[in-house]
Symmetry: C2
Subunit: 352 residues, 2 copies
């Protein structure tokens, strides 16, 4: 097991169970609340119950999917906790992917003005992304993560054993954030991952740890996203808009699939500024398309995407804020583009 130390909590990666049990024994929580969805209840909870010393936790089951990451599900979770007389000394354990982690953490941070929580992410996406950085929250009024706050968990426990329970589409979703971390901060790791042909044959542990280290460096340098942390938003301005739009469609995208689209478009934007070589843009786009295939969207959606981008949290003074690439392994934050160029980047995705 490897330990990644942050300012006031640790992320444990690997065989987590011994450390987790020591943590639980050294704390004296009054009750344990585990948040699961129908998938993690079936595939992850039995592993958790077998490996930990917790007896009789209170299991709160919510429905899986981004469309349930909302204030109604929070109310459901809070109600269950109140009915079980959870006091301020209770521990909440979200056991699942980003939806459960973000929303469960938010419920813990606001229940009786805040109780402790630990994160046990079970998807590749949440392992390398939402498990670190202390962003908690829910979607509201069709805007992703528009309600939430920053708060650290007591600890994060990541065990690759849970990845075996995932369909390949979920693995592919998480891989997008690893790609992003390489593109914004680690050209060497990019050269390594771009050779990947088959996601089902990858050993993820050696990729997860450097990916987490990248995110850790960025998040610790700028915890509240005032400057450098915005580099993590590469692919996310357009990606979030596409994801929000697809959420209510017949074919919703995973977060990673949407971010993959966003990264292709924003790589195009990068190439519109001096310095980012067009052959790199092609290399990035081709690799992403090889892994993710192409998602068909209509030109008439473009204006909806733009409207959604205008509501992005990162915007300032009404301008859409982008993070682009200056080079492979180097990001440039706070970039603005004419709406026409943004439209062209969407057309670029459709044409390649």
């Amino acid at each position: 097991m490897q330990t990644i130390e942050l300012d006031d909590y640790n992320i444990y990666v690997g065989e987590i169970w011994k450390t987790l049990n020591v943590f639980l024994e050294e704390s004296s929580y009054s009750k344990y609340f585990i948040i699961v969805d129908e998938n993690t209840k079936e595939h992850c909870l039995p592993i958790f119950m077998e490996k930990t010393t917790i007896e009789d936790p209170i299991v709160i089951e919510i429905q899986s999917g981004e469309q349930h990451k909302n204030i109604h599900t929070c109310s459901f979770i809070w109600k269950q906790m109140i009915e079980a007389n959870a006091d301020r000394n209770a521990l909440l354990i979200p056991l699942g992917g980003g939806v459960i982690g973000d929303m469960g953490g938010f419920c813990a941070a606001t229940y009786k003005r805040g109780i402790d929580f630990i994160q046990i992410p079970t998807t590749l996406l949440s392992n390398v992304d939402s498990s670190i950085g202390s962003k908690l929250g829910i979607d509201f009024a069709d805007i992703k993560n528009s309600i939430g706050l920053f708060k650290n968990p007591k600890a994060v426990f990541i065990d690759p054993v849970f990845l075996k329970t995932l369909p390949v589409r979920e693995i592919r979703s998480g891989f997008a954030e690893i790609i992003k971390h390489c593109l914004i901060a680690d050209a060497g790791l990019w050269n390594q991952i771009k050779e990947i042909e088959n996601l089902e044959k990858v050993d993820w542990l050696p990729l997860m740890v450097p990916s987490l280290e990248i995110k850790k460096r960025v998040v610790e340098a700028d915890p509240f996203e005032r400057n450098i942390r915005k580099s993590l938003n590469f692919g996310h301005t357009i990606g979030h808009a596409v994801e929000s739009h697809a959420l209510n469609s017949v074919y919703p995208l995973t977060h990673g699939e949407a971010i993959a689209i966003g990264m292709v478009c924003e790589t195009y934007l990068s190439a519109q500024k001096d310095g980012f070589p067009i052959n790199f843009a092609e290399e990035v786009s081709n690799f992403i398309l090889k892994i993710y295939g192409k998602y068909a969207f209509k030109n008439e959606y473009f204006s909806t995407f733009l409207r959604l981008m205008k509501n992005d949290k990162k915007n300032k003074d009404g301008k859409i804020n982008f993070t682009i690439l200056k080079n492979i392994g180097e990001a440039q934050i706070d970039q603005n583009f004419e709406e026409e160029i943004v439209m062209k980047s969407l057309a670029y995705y459709k044409e390649i």
Copy 2:
């Protein structure tokens, strides 16, 4: 104007407007959102608009009353902010009493993971109580303040001019917290206020400042209510239960009226432990009844009150947590009583 300095923000008391305008000019907020209810819209907003340099703020009007301090009103506020394209650089200004301050602050603290807010409390209660201490939140599932968090405002501006807009019942409500501050921490001030006969003739500024200083000392010594801050809960364990129960009745109590009842009962509890003289208990009870009169509640409510007390945030290990008086001006936290004694304290209130 007097300034009370806290660790990372100031409370300004008196003629606030010059300081407020300097604060606004030195900041560079993208938009201003003012939360009002139908009362503060009529009585306080015109004063605010006349005295400040803010032009064209976005005014969000909610319904007054504790029964609207809930997640539905939060959703309404968040939606208005999203529709007005509030970015992370917007400033939210709750202009009103504790309901608006607690809920407005909570909405600001969770909107796009947190935007700045300043508090402009307009009632005596919020001036001396919720304006300081950084507790934000809403009622949920019939439990007062069960969802919320701790977060500091950028500043608090208290001007007694707003007190003139209040009915005497609102003044009486706020006075309960001043009584409490005296009883837990300042015997000298108690001897001064216990001579008060007519609330309409009181000059509040000289009482508000020492009252705020008491709360400041307690809150700074223990911001997250792990120990000494619990002394502020004197009167609140029983008071909150009575208030929650009355909320849905034909005659809802103000917060102060409920806390006044709680203080009488918990003064009785104080006298059950060694040390607190019974004549002090009578002195306190008689003064409170002189100011507040007596509220009639049925014996059959007692078990409901007990159930509500059992859900109090301050409880630990299933025991109801009380703060009692050791002496006038001295509190004792973390006290437990048999349910029978708690019942007797309610009967004591009914009998005196």
